[in-house]
Symmetry: C2
Subunit: 596 residues, 2 copies
Amino acid sequence: MAEYQAPLRDMRFVLNEVFEANKLWASLAGTQDTIDPETAEAILEEAGKITASLIAPLSREGDEEGCTWHEAGVKTPTGYKDAYKTFIEGGWCGLSGNADYEGMGMPKMLGAQYEEMLYSADISFGLYACLTSGACLAIDAHASEELKTKYLPKMYSGEWAGAMDLTEPHSGTDLGMIRTKAVENGDGSYAITGTKIFITGGEQDLSENIIHLVLAKLPGAPAGSRGISLFLVPRNSVDENNVVGENNNVTCGSIEHKMGIKASATCVMNFDGAQGWLVGEENKGLAAMFTMMNYERLSVGIQGFAAAERSYQNAVEYAKDRIQGRAATGAVQADKEADPIIVHPDVRRMLMTMRAYTEGSRAFSTYVASFLDKAKYSDNAEEKAQADAMVALLTPIAKAYMTDRALDSCIAGQQVFGGHGFIREWGQEQLVRDTRITQIYEGTNGIQSLDLMGRKVVSNGGKLYELFATEVSEFVEKNADNEALQSLIKPLAAALERLSDVTEFVIGAAAEDKNAIGAASVEYLELFGLTAYAYMWARMAVVAEPKVAGDTSGFYAAKLKTANFFFSRLLPRSVSLSETIRSGSDDMMALEVEAF
Amino acid sequence: MAEYQAPLRDMRFVLNEVFEANKLWASLAGTQDTIDPETAEAILEEAGKITASLIAPLSREGDEEGCTWHEAGVKTPTGYKDAYKTFIEGGWCGLSGNADYEGMGMPKMLGAQYEEMLYSADISFGLYACLTSGACLAIDAHASEELKTKYLPKMYSGEWAGAMDLTEPHSGTDLGMIRTKAVENGDGSYAITGTKIFITGGEQDLSENIIHLVLAKLPGAPAGSRGISLFLVPRNSVDENNVVGENNNVTCGSIEHKMGIKASATCVMNFDGAQGWLVGEENKGLAAMFTMMNYERLSVGIQGFAAAERSYQNAVEYAKDRIQGRAATGAVQADKEADPIIVHPDVRRMLMTMRAYTEGSRAFSTYVASFLDKAKYSDNAEEKAQADAMVALLTPIAKAYMTDRALDSCIAGQQVFGGHGFIREWGQEQLVRDTRITQIYEGTNGIQSLDLMGRKVVSNGGKLYELFATEVSEFVEKNADNEALQSLIKPLAAALERLSDVTEFVIGAAAEDKNAIGAASVEYLELFGLTAYAYMWARMAVVAEPKVAGDTSGFYAAKLKTANFFFSRLLPRSVSLSETIRSGSDDMMALEVEAF
């Protein structure tokens, strides 16, 4: 496997040149005092180093060894414990944490780049930190001042980790059915009893304590999802001086044996009258979870393309090194027995496809992060509201489209290796296995599609969609005279029109057919994602094009060529998607259940 | 995991009703005396039983345990040895073998159904038998009478297994570079020396002996692929009485640790002056391999959709059983906490897509097998030649398109399970891992595409393509008045026209641009596959439609509904593929190697 190199040049391009992050941060009330260009650059550099040198080397062996469960707990693979120690000493767990509680207060646009590097190095390792950040977001937004003061600093420092306990054996997508119970102890705390499954980092040997955020039902709570409350439940009790004490009746019953992310412990957690504290209001647990959900979903999307970036780097190295056959246009290494396989169009097709999706994803995730930053750090109500709306609209796309294309990319990166891609030691097949979970957890990609099509588009008659469409239309108009880029701007305009037409079509169909939303959703999300990526590529091209002439590094020329590839070879899929969506739900639902 | 049920009803439909196999077999000189409808039916029934009861139960544990290597050989997982013994006692290894050497002489159309069941049960197990059949085909077609008499009966009986030794560490797709040497011993035999990798079943503990077919170079042989010869090399020497003796300097150096098919031993084989015999002519080894290649490639295609069939069966059972959420149209199980997830359109979409591809693949593989049977068993020179041409044209599609759609299907089947799909005990993730290799070995799917686009289409100016196009056109014309099926016949005609136009476009482009073939090939194969499946679905619909009214089982009605789904939701992709192909090679090849 090639040594991982953080793609800092492209990150800087996206951050500084395309989305002008520094300008944005300087304009936002909540970031103007916490970050400046030098700090951002130093963080990028440092993240690039620590992920490449400390974490990336753990990934292959971590997959082979995996986590092991024993009565007393879970053992992470060799090397994880030491690496985690070094990692938290660098303060990385608190990067995006609230500065009032000893977090670093860095914006998400920067955090997104850091997360990409972390996940490229090793999704399994990254998850331990990611779950802590997610738990901190929920605590920061909804917990009492007392809980925040007690827990956040220790979690930002990484000494204590976080875990999210939602799923139960019979209750995954449909959380309204959970059975875990919470009963008041009379001292302001609650006794939590129940079993949770699929708990990432529910138990491990890295941190001194693990703080669980647990969904449970209070006695007499309303049925379904309106009767769920959120509780903070430390694995080990913590006294008033923050000294970690006895186990709080929180035990790990077993860990799952999985397809991938084997170095990440996926735990069955048993709560047996564990002491917990309410986070947010009674019965508003799901709403409290939603605060962090958009961050987590973006983060999972980033996991996907981060793995694809790693796969791309490996595939490029292999394609330049492996010699096999001759170029169709004549030998390029006539003195050798064969040419490197990168000369073959089909290998190019795979590498260019990976590149177009991965760089597109990097831009898109940064774009979505910019709205998260505006929503969180702006003091302008209108800007905040508009950003909230864009976050709501774009998050399911970021989660599902980025991970779907990431799997495609990792499969392509494996295919470049031929038979060697199937062999574990090369690492390419692990990236396929590790990426596969990103399409499933944090709400399956089917659920993301339903969220987009139903809640975010149809339910408001396309109001949120119009925000996006208007932005893209304005961009198209602004660049209508850009002669050099008409081969990109025109297809972008056509793709947007197609998406707008289909949006209108589904909104109309949904009024008559209750299955219309579900029937259109997956293809609609893909069509939306493809159009959004076309917008990203056009924006990148507009920035790159004037710089090509004065650039000797070749960076901007490569950007333009990859943009052209995206438009000529990948965007055409939007035509078919649109046609498929228009076929409606009839043929999809026609077969009787018994006939399957 | 659901218990595997052989889909005999659909196999009978394809064999007897759509392609009228019995009529064909009765008309062919080489099959009219070996097979009759009762025999065919008995074989189907028996294969369904043995695969479901004997082999399918091995698959999950076989994956967990895997093969292990030790100095003395390779150990297959617990249970494989006993199952293999029972399996070969049933005579299955000789099913399609030459009756002159104690094979059963069954046609490929029937063999294809048997192979599907075998691979649905367990690809790893099936491979041991499959490699033997492949080796037998090459021996039967090219070896001397003496070798045939000595080896074939023992291989058809399964007592001795076969292995194909092609790849070397530096030489995979480009076999012209192999370094294994063959030197005459002076007694009609040769001393073979070299190292081969990725040898499926190169060593195992199932059979008494393993007969290797090894590609090697004779002293002074021409460079490249024109200097390769084929040798039969038994692992253990065999005396004149067929008694198996000492090891013949053929040893297994190690086995690979792979993503999937873990119960299939993938071996590094060392030949250290091993005694071997020439098969076919000197320096014509590749040609001798091609005889069996079409069979093997179809077989690998069948592996793919066989796994998809298994995944489909599991997914249907889960989707009917797992309750989560409510149907959009109102509760269907109001007395329960939730509805089974099969009510949700997105779950339907996944199941229907799997169904449409898998049944389409079953039809297509049987269709291709019918040409293999005509080519092998007809005594009519024209019929033979035409069938040979169709085999040449359709085999790369059968291998690549069936396995590509199989991976899609297995991923969908895993997705239906949500988080449980990622957990090994459910078996769905194993099917993804096992299927993945089918896109890689026996010539990667990229190589299949190049074979189709370059050798089978462009090199003869579309002559072979015309055979297919004419057959489909005639079908369209014949059914032009079928009022009930116009929603299928018209899109089929349009898809064919699109494919014909693109074929012409690429033939034209290839005259000017040496990269045109490679740039178009993968999307062209997909477009061709999609069109061929449209033809299959239309043929199935034409047979099913008149039978719907008189049928109480629902089989024919389900066929029509699945056909409608294929046409409205899957076929539209052909529009985009055509557009992508027309973008040519420029954007694909524009980026300089250094810029990657």
